[in-house]
Each structure stands twice: as structure tokens, then as C-alpha cells.
Symmetry: C2
Subunit: 352 residues, 2 copies
């Protein structure tokens, strides 16, 4: 803990001014370009700054300037391929506009989320981006309402990315994928390959993203004239480990299905492994589809048919929309489209 690394005195703008033989005011103007300064003077100042290896103090600047260009993105964990892509998108778009971007991982712990958001408020973040589906309980709702209100009243902005707003009139922007449409499309794909008994693996009741996918799945089944009983959803949650476990269990219990729709690609990875471990083949015995099209999905065994959610674009869109004039057209709810990408994990049931 305690460890100050004996700092030397920092070079300030006063030193630069002195060396250039001008006042601090002039030095500041030359450096920041906020006010015209004769070329000769300007050059002298710049020269002095370089000689001294002057580095402006962002704190002092932010203090007087009243705020700073900084965005915070909060995700469950940065090692999840999907979240990483969203974060990359945010980072890229922020960097393009000269904004600083800091990402925080909560591990799914509301406590850590609150601490991080608090910290970001202290740091003067003007944009806080909450990423990914969540289960919307009362605690969550009130937390988000508080974030939104607090940010809003200090000139900031909350954006919900990949999740809907829990309450239509909290002052937050939302940017998300049309999960229901995506799920419906890929379910239809399975249906048109001839599958009738499809299980949805990876439900997580209350989770906005998964519930929407389940809804899309059910809708596709219904549109195809199948009774509601034809659908089955296994609520095993997310992650490779969960998918592996749940699929193993399911296989022990029944073989009365020909395809599985995994809640996301990581669940699919686990399911694929479980099926292989059971001595079955994908897609010959069972077809599998996932969701998100993470970068390595095409390297699974077999390459996974899934729905592509342009994650990086989601991140970019979040900051782009948040940063444009609030009164500009476009409303505050944006839906991004998805499309399915066909690979080799789906075959017709009972085919060679």
C-alpha cells in the first residue's frame, strides 16, 4: 500500500512561461490554442515546452474547465469476447473524438458496479455506459434510476447498451440489438431445416437479453404452427461451464430433441463439448446454434451457425448517439439489426 515513489517537482506552465519570457497567460494561450498568439511568440513557447518536456496537468485543466471528456464503460468481465468487442468499439469511437475511455469490470456484483459508477462520477465522467443484459430486479431498477438522475443532473448521460430501460422515463439512452428478431430468425432457420423439437439452452429468467431471445424462439415456433408445448427452455444461465453442465444433464434425461439453440456462443461451446463427450455428433445427431458470433465461433467443432450481433458497432453507436445533440432527432431508444451466419453446425434431422 503506502508507497510514494519519491516524486520530483513537476514542470509547470509557469516554468515554460518563464523560459519563453512570457506570462503564464500567454503560455497557456500558445499551448492550448484557445486564443490567437503571434507566430513568433507561439513558437518560443512551444520550444520551451519541448525543451522542458512539459506535460500539462489534466486535473488542473479539468478543474478550471469544469469537466473533461471521459467515458466509462462497465461490463461484467473484460475477457468475455462479446464484452471485449463492445468495449473496443466504445474505446475506438471515444478515442476518435479525443475522449478518454475507462472500462470497469464488475464480475456481476452490484456492489462493485455502484462503487465503480461512484468513482467515475468523482472522476468527472460525462458518459457512463452499462453494457449487457441483466436481470431487472427492484434493486437494479432503483440503482439505474439513481445513476441516470445523478448523471443527468450533473450534465452527464447514462447509456444502456444491450439492455432496455427499466422505466421509460428515466433519462437514459438505450442502444441494443433486436434480440427477439435475431432469435426468431435463427429458430426459423432450424425450423426450415426440418427440426421440430428444439430446446433453448441457457435461459436466465428475468434477464432482459435472454428473455427476449426466448420470446423470439417461442414466436418462431408459434408462427410455424407448433404448439407451445413443442418448445422447451432450460434455464441454466450463461457461460461455457453452465452450457457444458446443462447439456450433459439434458442428454442423460432425454434424447427427444434434434436441435439446441444456445443462449449465446459460450453456452454453445459448452454444449458442443457435452455432445461430443456423449459420443454424439454435431450436426449429424444434433444441430446446434448459438448467439453473438464471437470471433472464434468459426473455429468451434464444427464451426458454429449463429446470429451475428455487431458488438463493436454497438459500442460505437452508444457513444456516437450519446454525444450528439440531445435535442437532435432520433429519440433515445435505438435498435440495431442482426443477421444469421450459417456455418456447419446445422443439418436436417435424420439426414445421412
Amino acid at each position: 500500500m503506502g508507497n510514494d515513489m519519491g516524486a520530483k517537482r513537476r514542470v509547470t506552465i509557469r516554468d515554460v512561461a518563464e523560459r519563453a519570457g512570457v506570462s503564464m497567460a500567454t503560455a497557456s494561450r500558445a499551448l492550448s490554442g484557445n486564443h490567437p498568439v503571434p507566430t513568433a511568440t507561439r513558437a518560443r513557447v512551444l520550444r520551451a515546452a519541448r525543451d522542458l518536456d512539459y506535460v500539462a496537468n489534466a486535473h488542473a485543466r479539468a478543474l478550471v474547465g469544469g469537466g473533461r471528456k471521459m467515458a466509462a464503460v462497465v461490463v461484467r468481465q473484460v475477457t468475455s469476447p462479446f464484452y471485449a468487442q463492445v468495449a473496443e468499439g466504445v474505446e475506438a469511437e471515444a478515442a476518435d473524438r479525443g475522449w478518454l475511455c475507462v472500462v470497469g469490470a464488475t464480475g456481476g456484483d452490484p456492489q462493485r458496479e455502484m462503487e465503480f459508477v461512484q468513482l467515475m462520477r468523482e472522476e468527472g465522467a460525462r458518459l457512463v455506459i452499462l453494457v449487457g443484459g441483466v436481470v431487472e430486479d427492484d434493486a437494479y431498477r432503483s440503482r439505474v434510476a439513481h445513476y441516470a438522475q445523478a448523471l443527468d443532473s450533473s450534465g452527464g448521460r447514462l447509456v444502456l447498451c444491450g439492455r432496455p430501460a427499466p422505466d421509460p422515463d428515466i433519462p437514459a439512452l438505450v442502444v441494443e440489438f433486436d434480440n427477439e428478431a435475431g432469435a426468431r430468425a435463427i429458430t426459423a432457420h432450424l425450423l426450415s431445416a426440418g427440426h421440430r423439437r428444439i430446446v433453448f439452452l441457457g435461459g436466465l429468467p428475468g434477464n432482459t437479453a435472454l428473455d427476449a431471445r426466448v420470446a423470439g424462439y417461442r414466436a418462431a415456433l408459434a408462427e410455424h404452427g407448433l404448439p407451445r408445448s413443442a418448445g422447451r427452455v432450460v434455464d441454466c444461465g450463461l457461460g461455457r461451464a453452465a452450457g457444458l453442465r446443462a447439456m450433459t444433464e439434458l442428454l442423460k434425461e432425454t434424447r427427444e430433441f434434434t436441435a439446441v439453440f444456445a443462449g449465446d456462443d459460450m453456452v454453445a461451446a459448452g454444449a458442443l463439448r457435452a455432445i461430443a463427450d456423449a459420443g454424439l455428433s454435431v450436426p449429424d445427431d444434433i444441430s446446434v446454434v448459438g448467439y453473438n458470433d464471437i470471433p472464434l465461433a468459426e473455429d468451434f467443432n464444427p464451426p458454429l451457425t449463429t446470429v451475428r450481433t455487431p458488438a463493436e458497432e454497438l459500442g460505437r453507436a452508444a457513444v456516437r448517439i450519446a454525444l450528439r445533440d440531445p435535442e437532435q432527432s432520433g429519440g433515445n431508444h435505438h435498435l440495431l439489426g442482426t443477421h444469421i451466419v450459417v456455418r456447419r453446425s446445422v443439418a436436417s434431422p435424420g439426414a445421412p
Copy 2:
């Protein structure tokens, strides 16, 4: 760009002090706990702060306090599984100590690297962590020397993570894996399975990490009594696409090898795909090993034998070492061990 989101006046510590009926000094002491304050007073202040939803201004605090607990990680891209894990480790260890962690992506562009480091200096980062192997050219050497010197003279610290120091006496800490040992071990694994013609796919001359792996590979070959001509390294660089392309080319050119040692797991992913596309089987026709053991390596087809480099631990170690007393034992160069993890991508050549 221009968009001020009309901020209202911020609640300051003066407001809190007023409401609690104390001076700013007392309020500050009660809030920060830097100086004892009677329980009753303290409670009044805390109460006032809560009522007002007071949020301290980190800039003002850092300005007077002279610095702040902030670490910066710079990686090529955050969506690379390996880098993501390192970043996660840094973030976790930093968070544990109450430090803020910001990660920047350079896309491999020195220009962006310099801008980011500059920005971090302005922000008062006391720890800058450069992650991953690089090719050490003169420009790089002078850049790093400058970073190290600048950080050092302002009480900060540069740590090189996953790469050696270009010059033994620049004031930087180094934490890296023993790439040579890891490469030697997995090459030995291939050798003991009976392989004699092993190609190293993914060299990148000048790149510290890859060069070390190539050295380990060559050393293992030599230790086994093989002539130097037995080894072959294809310098295709890194990334899945590079691996795919290079492997495809190689296969067209020759089949005079029974195993490939990919420079990292992403290259291996591409190689695996290329081999499958050529109608060959892994491991029956060709064995493949990778490097890093990224999270999804076990879901490749087939599950990849590779060497595990505990990436998250690398990140944690970087901050742990950087933050302990500089004069403490341990030196400033740390080597982390690796071990191979055997899965199913290796078989004996010519086996059933």
C-alpha cells in the same frame, strides 16, 4: 463534438460543510478520514453529504494531493483473448488496491502509443504497463527509454509486461514469461511423440516474444540431436488470418512435415482451419500445437495442445511488483513459469 449538455452547479464540499454547520476543513477531515474528528460531528457531515448526494471532485483532490492512484495498460487490441486476460489481471489487482485502471488500445501504431502514454502522463498515471511482445527497432528503443525516464522522473513507473527491457539500464520493471522454456517444453512434447519434422509457423523476426519461442524450438531440436536444418520457421506474423494463409501456402508447397508449432493459439486456429480445408486431419495427418492457452483453445477442432501462460497472473504480478517498495528485494526483472497442457491435437506420426 461541441456539445456541453448544460451542466447544473455541482455540489461542493462547501455546501456539505454549510449544511452540517462546520467549516470546510472539518468537513474534509470527516469525509476523507485523514484526521480524527469526533463521532458526532463526523456523523453530521456524513449525513449532510448523503442528503446532498455529494460527490468529491477527483480533480481537485488530485491537484492538491499531488497525483493519484491510477494505472494505465496499453495493449495492441483489447479483443485479443490474451491481452484481455492480462488487462483483466491488471484491472483486478489495481481495483483491489483502490487504484483506477485505464486501458488503451494502439492497434500496433507507435503514434497512437505515444499519444496514449502522453495522455496518461497528463492524467497523472503513476504506472504505465506496456503489454505484449514487440519488434525492437531503434524507434521503439528510444520511445521506451523516453517513457521510462519521464515516468521515473515524475515519480511514476514503467513496466514492461511480456517483453524484455531493450536496454538493461533504463528504469523499467520487467515481468514476462519464459518463452524460451515454454517453447522448448512443447517442442520436446512433439519430439517425444515421435515427430522429427516440425515447422514453426508464425515467426516475426525482431519480435521479442516470437524470437524467444523460436529459440526454444531450435534448442529443443538441437538437444534431441537433430541438425539445424531439421527446423523450419515460417515468418507469417500473428493472427488467425495470417495462420490460415501461411498454412494454406505451406501445404501447397510441401507435405514434408508431421507437426506444426504455431506461434500462438490464434495462428493455430488459422492453421487448423487450413489443414481441415485441405482435407487433412488433425492429429491423424498433422499434429498442431499452439501457445498461450486462450480460453477457447479447448473448443477448437480438435482441442488444442498448447502451453499455458497464466495471462491474468501476469497482469496481477505487474502491478503487484510495481507497487511494492522499490528498494525491496526481488530485482526488477521477473520471469513467470509456464506449463504445457495436453489436449487432442497431437498424435504420433503414422499412427492409426
